[in-house]
């Protein structure tokens, strides 16, 4: 266990993480705009404090993270390499999942994401129970406010509380699911729901990553010690569009939130020249990562079994079907 970190050291660590996430995702946006990447992506610009604040409070040696469609920040905060992420989105052999997963289906060293809202919640519960059985390790499962629409989430919360799964549910409530504001999707107060399934919940504004890290550490310690799930319910805001489509939110609202962007606020807590140096270093690393990833060899098709119709037949028999 590491000793308690000074606020100054923590500020540098968190700023570096958040600025890295921002830089990586702005770069991804540019790569898509330039047509150098295909498919789609969901960036977490504006929400980086959630990733940096919470993920870093876990122990990479024995813990795990379940993330969502909006997973780049969580992945990077977990220690994932920008190059591997870029390579994944470029469809390169060196990608996190060899180009198979793309932006939202990642797996690396105890980190998992999938593109189905709430579908990973019970999987995270099961993984947490497997850690409990193993005698060490806990996990965090990220969720969005929109994901509270899915029933599987409640089944999972109930089971987690009932069976004592060492799991921290982390809600990133950014007020929207895709184009739809929270109040158009949900009745009652979302943050009150986990408690109705026996899960103690702490609500927090996620703008100050230092405070958030301290809170996450305390909650994770609690989960670790009694193997009971907790919920950390964060209020945050995404400053970019949902995915590659246009942003249809009220521009004034977005503009107002941009004024309160946690990243520059955190930067102001560092000496200007130190922040500049960090930024330069990040810019250099990210540019290198892009260059390296883009020139990596393209991913190879998996050696998949042939279609059922062309399964190897006894040689005396005629062959049928056509593999596309």
């Amino acid at each position: 266990m590491q000793l308690v970190q000074s606020d100054e050291g923590l500020t540098v660590e968190l700023y570096t993480q958040m600025a890295t996430i921002r830089r990586v995702e702005e770069t991804l946006q540019a790569l898509f705009r330039q047509g150098r990447m295909r498919g789609t992506t969901h960036v977490s610009i504006g929400q980086e404090a959630c990733a940096a604040g919470v993920v870093g409070a876990l122990d990479r040696q024995r813990d795990f993270v379940f993330s969502t469609h909006r997973c780049h920040g969580h992945f990077l905060a977990w220690g994932g390499e920008p190059r591997a992420l870029f390579a994944e989105l470029f469809g390169r052999e060196t990608g996190i999942c060899g180009g198979l997963g793309g932006s939202q289906h990642l797996c690396w060293s105890g980190f998992f994401s999938n593109g189905i809202q709430a579908g990973m919640a019970p999987v995270a519960v099961g993984m947490a129970l497997s850690r409990k059985a193993a005698g060490e390790g806990i996990g965090a499962a990220f969720l969005g406010d929109g994901t509270f629409g899915e029933g599987t989430l409640y089944e999972s919360m109930n089971l987690a509380a009932l069976w004592g799964a060492p799991l921290l549910f982390v809600v990133e409530d950014n007020g929207y699911a895709q184009s739809t504001p929270r109040r158009v999707q949900h009745a009652g107060r979302l943050s009150a729901r986990p408690a109705a399934f026996g899960i103690e919940t702490v609500v927090q504004d996620a703008r100050d990553p230092v405070a958030l890290r301290r809170l996450a550490e305390a909650l994770i310690l609690a989960v670790r010690s009694d193997c009971r799930p907790r919920c950390l319910y964060l209020h945050t805001y995404r400053l970019a569009a949902h995915s590659r489509s246009e942003d249809y939110r009220d521009p004034e609202e977005v503009q107002a939130r941009r004024q309160r962007d946690p990243l520059p606020a955190l930067r102001r807590r560092l000496p200007e020249d130190q922040a500049d140096a960090i930024d330069r270093e990040i810019a250099r690393r990210v540019a290198e990562a892009v260059a390296a990833a883009e020139s990596d060899p393209p991913a190879q098709p998996r050696g998949v079994p042939l279609p059922a119709a062309t399964l190897p037949l006894a040689p005396l028999l005629p062959t049928g079907g056509e593999r596309a």
Binding site: R38, G102, Q185, A299, A309, E322, A324
Partner: protein, 334 residues
């Protein structure tokens, strides 16, 4: 074929697009029938749904186009209740991949009610589902899962192409007393309609012929499969093989023999679907041809037995292609 997320009403050639045909049909339905309503995730203006098919409708028909929570089971279940209650709901599932979350509501509820309740109710429910790959959306947003919803008593599955009249098919589905799963391939949205010869009502089968001379091959396909078949037919014609493409719009029930006969009993049949290998729509088509005896020789062209990779070039390698259709046809006729 250039897919675009924000297709205009008219394609580059000035004709109505597949997407606009559907939007116009819903507009007309909402205008003409007070019982019609639309529900689904993010269907409101200005967003207008993930594939923009409902765009313009909520502004024009406030209160009758409803944005739902991210609750696929409840969307379909609630729409089922609305349908039993006398309304004509059109539910949109954002990606066909998410139909699995509503499988119980569709199969154990909506599809069963009419029969199980001894014809005391009908369930005029339409579930629209954009499906299929080709846009590098990865393993959970690119699938053609409709094969898992075939063979369900009481559930119709309709898959338009731009060779049909998609709007007319949607109107037929809304008028249908039984639940209809309406599968729209994502890549068809921006295409201009190009209606071809069609027979059968209310869910006609479209046919296209290419090449001259004796009937060489019949190609059975549906929905997005059309995009490989048309170029394949041109190449086959160049190679001196004439072909007939047969595209049913209703795919849960389909009599391939009838169409094989109408096509002049060509000696070969190529069966095409985008879904993964095995146990798909083409299996039933092949089985029916085989059962009747005196069948053409048959090959299936399907997706591989694998997840759909996110990387565009891997996805392309995993899905069928015009080349695969041509190769299958030539292997059979030579």
């Amino acid at each position: 074929m250039t897919p675009s997320a924000n297709g205009a009403v008219h394609g580059h050639g000035g004709g109505l697009t597949f997407r606009a045909s559907l939007t116009e049909a819903m507009d007309g339905l909402l205008r003409g029938d007070p019982r019609v309503l639309i529900l689904g995730e993010d269907v409101l203006d200005p967003y207008g749904g993930a594939f923009k098919v409902t765009r313009g409708l909520s502004d024009r028909y406030p209160g009758r186009v409803l944005a739902t929570p991210v609750s696929e089971a409840a969307i379909i279940g609630t729409a089922t209740g609305l349908a039993i209650g006398g309304l004509r709901p059109i539910a949109e599932v954002m990606f066909g991949d998410f139909l699995l979350l509503a499988a119980d509501e569709l199969i154990n509820h909506a599809a069963k009610f009419r029969a199980m309740y001894h014809e005391q109710v009908t369930v005029p429910l339409v579930v629209r589902a954009p499906a299929g790959g080709g846009r590098a959306y990865g393993p959970t947003h690119s699938q053609s899962l409709e094969k898992h919803f075939l063979g369900v008593p009481g559930l119709k599955v309709v898959a338009p192409t731009h060779l049909h009249d998609p709007g007319a098919l949607l109107r037929a589905a809304v008028a249908d007393p039984d639940p209809v799963l309406f599968v729209e391939h994502k890549l068809l949205y921006p295409l201009e309609l190009r209606p071809s010869e069609q027979r059968g009502t209310p869910y006609p089968t479209a046919t296209v012929r290419a090449g001259d001379g004796d009937p060489g091959v019949i190609i059975f396909a549906y929905g997005g499969g059309v995009r490989w078949c048309l170029p394949a037919m041109s190449r086959l014609a160049e190679a001196g093989v004439s072909s007939t493409l047969c595209l049913p719009s209703r795919i849960d029930r389909f009599e391939p023999w009838t169409w094989w006969d109408l096509a002049g009993r060509p000696p070969a049949a190529v069966l095409v679907e985008e879904g993964t290998a095995g146990h798909g729509w083409t299996a039933e088509v092949a089985a029916q041809l085989a059962e009747a005896g005196d069948a053409p020789s048959i090959r299936r062209v399907t997706g591989a037995d694998d997840i759909i990779p996110a990387a565009g070039h891997l996805e392309d390698a995993m899905l069928p292609s015009a080349e695969a259709v041509v190769a299958a046809a030539l292997a059979l006729v030579r």
